[in-house]
Symmetry: C2
Subunit: 301 residues, 2 copies
């Protein structure tokens, strides 16, 4: 059955309308994507019989231009008119790490008015998780203006004030990024207001040493989300190499969650997310460990 053409109050069909539409009528904000590219790195150990320590790392770029010249920012850039937001994020990811085909998800879109002093910019943040071992070593490594920073995340304190019909709860979180002798550090306050049965959450930068724009907030938010998602999804395996030991996996969990886990409970919990192989670690100064891989035939959690 043929559709009868729908016309608007000017008698135009949709096709006619679109041809006459002027896209330049309104003043517009710019749109960018900012990438939170996380990986896990091993640190060399003094005692060769001990396991090597691991740390969570984040890729940052030192700004060579105003604004925030000399400060460190997340990799990112403008979204083109002919590419999707996700494509823009993938493009930025590839240009920084030479990697595609890794886990990536959109986190949040930051739309405050003053976030960029040049002009109105709205920015979508995307988180990518990469396995350091499959990363091209050059990526963001040799460049003087880019590098992997170890991430530290400390909850400083939590205050609480009672109100008539609710309360205000404030949390202060210190984020420290370290790359050799470069240390960036800042504090984000998260204010949760509950009034009646309405809950509001606000994030503010309370202290900032070395972070450009509002990127400190983005980093705090990303770590919070990473922590949450690690508990109820399998995304952690995106940070692991194809073969890993259960102890390594447990360490990565512990680094991300910021607390220690008990081995028996841990093994029970991840038991059906992994498959064992016939291989073992070699040449450790102690009992070898069985190697596992991510069990891909299991569906999502």
């Amino acid at each position: 059955m043929p559709k009868k053409p729908v016309t608007d109050r000017n008698g135009l069909t949709e096709e006619q309308f679109l041809q006459s539409y002027d896209a330049g009528m309104y003043e517009r904000p710019s749109v960018t994507v900012d990438m939170l590219i996380f990986t896990v790195m091993e640190q060399e150990q003094d005692n060769y019989r001990k396991l090597s320590e691991k740390s969570l790392q984040l890729l940052m770029i030192q700004r060579g231009e105003h604004p925030y010249l000399g400060q460190w920012a997340l990799p990112g850039g403008f979204a083109g008119v002919e590419e999707s937001l996700e494509d823009a994020a993938l493009r930025e990811l590839y240009s920084e790490t030479n990697i595609d085909n890794v886990y990536m998800e959109q986190l949040y879109t930051w739309g405050d008015v003053g976030r960029d002093p040049r002009m109105r910019v709205i920015s979508s943040s995307y988180m990518a998780l990469v396995d350091r071992k499959t990363l091209d070593v050059q990526a963001g490594d040799d460049a003087a203006d880019a590098g992997w920073f170890e991430v530290m995340y400390d909850v400083l304190e939590s205050g609480r004030k009672e109100l008539a019909e609710g309360y205000v709860e404030e949390q202060r979180i210190r984020i420290t990024l370290q790359k050799e002798d470069i240390v960036l550090s800042g504090v984000v306050t998260i204010t949760e207001t509950v009034q009646g049965h309405v809950r509001r959450v606000r994030r503010e930068i309370a202290e900032n040493n070395g972070f450009a724009f509002d990127h400190l907030k983005m980093i705090q938010y990303a770590i919070e989300r990473l922590r949450g998602k690690v508990e109820y999804t399998d995304i952690i395996f995106n940070l692991m190499p194809p073969l890993f030991t259960l102890s390594e996996l447990q360490r990565v969990y512990e680094i991300i969650l910021g607390r220690e886990l008990l081995a028996p409970a841990f093994r029970r919990k991840i038991a059906d997310s992994v498959t064992e192989t016939d291989e073992f670690t070699k040449d450790a100064g102690h009992r070898p460990s069985k190697l596992y891989r991510y069990r891909v035939d299991r569906g999502s959690r």
Copy 2:
């Protein structure tokens, strides 16, 4: 200690740079916000001794202009250059429902290239939860072009194909919105691809009767998030009136989750999210029920 001015390769300080910056250099997408305003409504019951049925409702607007003239869309509009994204969302919310001070959160930012036939538009979707009883009755009620639709969400089937290094899992979800004799209906397919240890999720509209733009995808995503969040946060109380019975609360859970719950387990679970009052329901055709309120002094879950 006075800071020494940082200058860039052109010898400009940040202040000088910003004064000379031309914000109009790049072609830009437009930015809009789209609102998913949910509420819970009671339906009149034929048998007065039975409890009244409840349903989840979503506010939609019929388009009076091209494109998608006559179809139904989420309320929304352009984000101004002088307002934050969140302010734009609050403004839209207020203009549709005359309500502010309700629960609202950003869900996702939709950035595909072809989502609006007029031009490139990027849209942030926000979800708001409102208690129908405190809603001004007129809002979106009498207007012929706006209204509350009952939401139905059915998982149709889930197929799965094994691949060499992973699998593809497809889920088809039917969304039906109904308002008296107006029925909108569509199917969203969610495709989850796992290759190696990389997981990707894509959403496509497989069938569409009456929804404008990609709003069907937004609705599906919002319900998915609402379901998830209801299980591990207290947001559900934003849909409840100040006083409610535990049975009512359980019904609302059941409507959102799409499955029945057992009363004893339910009561244990929400026990410390609520406080009992001295009041009871009256004039029901059966045993009166104690009224509870949201327990606000308890912190977040």
